[in-house]
């Protein structure tokens, strides 16, 4: 279970929030917006996972973010203030600012997805989509069960192969041959096992009626309040974005950043996981 009150909310609320956050992050390269979404996503991930795991996941993102940032700043001849030029490469101040913004945007998206992974666990996903996609969602949960099963079956196949024929051929080709044989045995065994599972499912009435599901999640007053708040903030931010608060010119020259109230509503929207924590003070 993920940390924090927000993770205990109805999956639909959480899903809408993450969809909103990710879509908005995708939509604007405005430096203030990018900075806000980076900070909010980073703060929430730190809150969910703690500082050290956060830094570890940050280390995984950095190469990709750097690649995209550098790619955008190196090969961009649209800027006016040229720093350096060589053949097709031309570095401009504007290009670098843009690269920074796009890199930050990508980092924020990756951070939001990490938060999503923490909060929207598989059971919530299945709860949301189990009715619409009964077969697929059943398959996803069965696959998750079969992965550890495959691994443990793999160990027993390995052990019995070792006991029967192992230990003779320690060369590389011998090992590869045994690896191949193991994979083949494991796959065949898995297939035959799976038919047993299928028969057992049939015997218990799989496919006899439409799928039912046990719902752990209910709509309480707090869900309605938070959903309402999210929708209001969403509408306000969409209006602000469309009317130009979120637009920003990098070329030919970087435009100036002016403080606007619109940024506050954006911060409020993305800070929703922290806002719901206010509930604790009510008690």
């Amino acid at each position: 279970m993920a940390k924090g009150l927000f993770a205990t909310y109805h999956p639909a609320v959480c899903m809408l929030f993450f969809l909103t956050a990710i879509c908005f992050t995708f939509c604007t390269q405005h430096p203030v917006y990018v900075a806000l979404t980076c900070i909010m996503a980073g703060a929430y991930l730190v809150y969910l996972r703690g500082v050290r795991p956060f830094l570890r996941s940050l280390g995984m993102f950095i190469p990709m973010v750097l690649f995209v940032g550098i790619l955008n700043s190196l090969f961009n001849s649209a800027g006016a203030t040229s720093l350096w030029k060589w053949g097709p490469f031309s570095v401009t101040v504007e290009g670098m600012c843009y690269g920074l913004a796009v890199g930050g945007m990508l980092a924020a998206i990756l951070l939001w997805f990490s938060c999503y992974n923490e909060v929207m666990t598989e059971d919530k996903f299945t709860y949301l989509f189990g009715r619409k996609l009964p077969t697929i969602s059943l398959m996803v949960s069965m696959i998750s069960r079969w992965i550890p099963r495959m691994v443990s079956r793999g160990h027993s196949v390995y052990d019995s192969q070792e006991a029967l024929i192992g230990g003779y051929d320690q060369t590389k080709s011998g090992k590869m041959k045994r690896g191949l044989r193991m994979a083949t045995v494991l796959t065949g065994l898995g297939m035959e096992d799976s038919v047993q599972t299928a028969d057992s499912m049939c015997a218990r009435g799989y496919g006899a009626t439409s799928r039912t599901s046990y719902a752990r999640f209910k709509w309480h007053t707090r869900e309605r309040i938070v959903l309402g708040l999210l929708i209001v903030l969403l509408v306000v931010n969409v209006v602000l974005l469309v009317t130009g608060t979120g637009s920003f010119k990098f070329y030919p020259r970087v435009s100036a950043i002016v403080p606007l109230w619109g940024y506050l509503t954006y911060a409020l929207m993305l800070g929703l996981p922290f806002l719901v924590e206010l509930e604790r003070f009510k008690r």
């Binding site: 955008n72 398959m139 083949t184 799976s194 049939c202």
Partner: protein
């Protein structure tokens, strides 16, 4: 609906048949939509193309759901997906070389195009639970599904019968996968893409793709003949697949 329990598959409704019919069109349309986005310099291309990829997955999943399959007909997909994900996890420390493409190709080849697509798509969806979901997930699902689908199509036309033709197909498919994903990176995240930035992106992926392609051939060649034989035996033994 007792027909789902007994030994024959219920007929698909109109909706399912329609969804099945537009599958090939969707496979062709999505890359074209991506190129159009690039051509017109559509703003927020990353979001739009990811949304398009999700839409493109709909007909495949919808027609699959509409089939209302028997339990044993979904089992090969579950086993092969679990195997693929386990393979991706086991080979995670080794850069680039993964058995994923090889297993998806064998699945498409032995169990048909739709099984190939669903296995490929689900393998990427489930393995990203471990490797991290991201904006790339829909595109990975679509592309891996496409590979399984193509393997199924070529297999049903009898084109993938020999060890070497299957190996060559796997080799090319890894490059197709890299090409589509790299193109998506350019379209989505590089503004004012010019020849130099496009070239750099493809060049950065080339070594990875080459290693992956060679790895796939190494995985495919030994299993290319023996696994389909094994699967065919299991299919006829347990009457998996559409009733003959």
């Amino acid at each position: 609906m007792s027909s789902a329990v007994v030994n024959e598959r219920p007929k698909m409704g109109k909706f399912g048949r329609f969804m099945r019919a537009i599958e090939p069109a969707v496979l062709v349309a999505l890359p074209i939509v991506m190129l159009i986005c690039a051509w017109l310099h559509v703003p927020n291309a990353a979001l739009i193309t990811s949304a398009c990829a999700i839409v493109a997955l709909v007909p495949f999943f919808a027609s699959f759901e509409a089939e209302r399959r028997r339990a044993r007909d979904i089992m090969p997909i579950i086993v092969m997906t679990a195997l693929t994900v386990a393979g991706r996890l086991i080979f995670a420390p080794v850069p680039a070389i993964k058995p994923v493409t090889a297993l998806i190709i064998i699945t498409g080849l032995c169990f048909g195009r739709d099984e190939g697509f669903i296995t490929g798509a689900l393998a990427m969806l489930v393995s990203n639970i471990f490797f991290g979901q991201g904006p790339w997930t829909p595109w990975q699902m679509f592309t891996m599904g496409l590979i399984g689908y193509l393997a199924g199509v070529l297999g049903s036309h009898g084109l993938l019968k020999h060890r070497w033709s299957i190996g060559l197909f796997g080799f090319l498919m890894v490059f197709l996968y890299g090409f589509i994903l790299d193109t998506w990176t350019i379209v989505g995240f590089v503004s004012n893409a010019n020849a130099a930035s496009v070239f750099t992106t493809y060049a950065a992926g080339f070594a990875n793709n080459l290693a992956g392609a060679i790895g796939t051939v190494v995985f495919l060649i030994p299993i290319a003949i023996s696994w389909p034989r094994m699967f065919n035996r299991i299919k006829s033994k347990y009457q998996i697949g559409p009733a003959a």
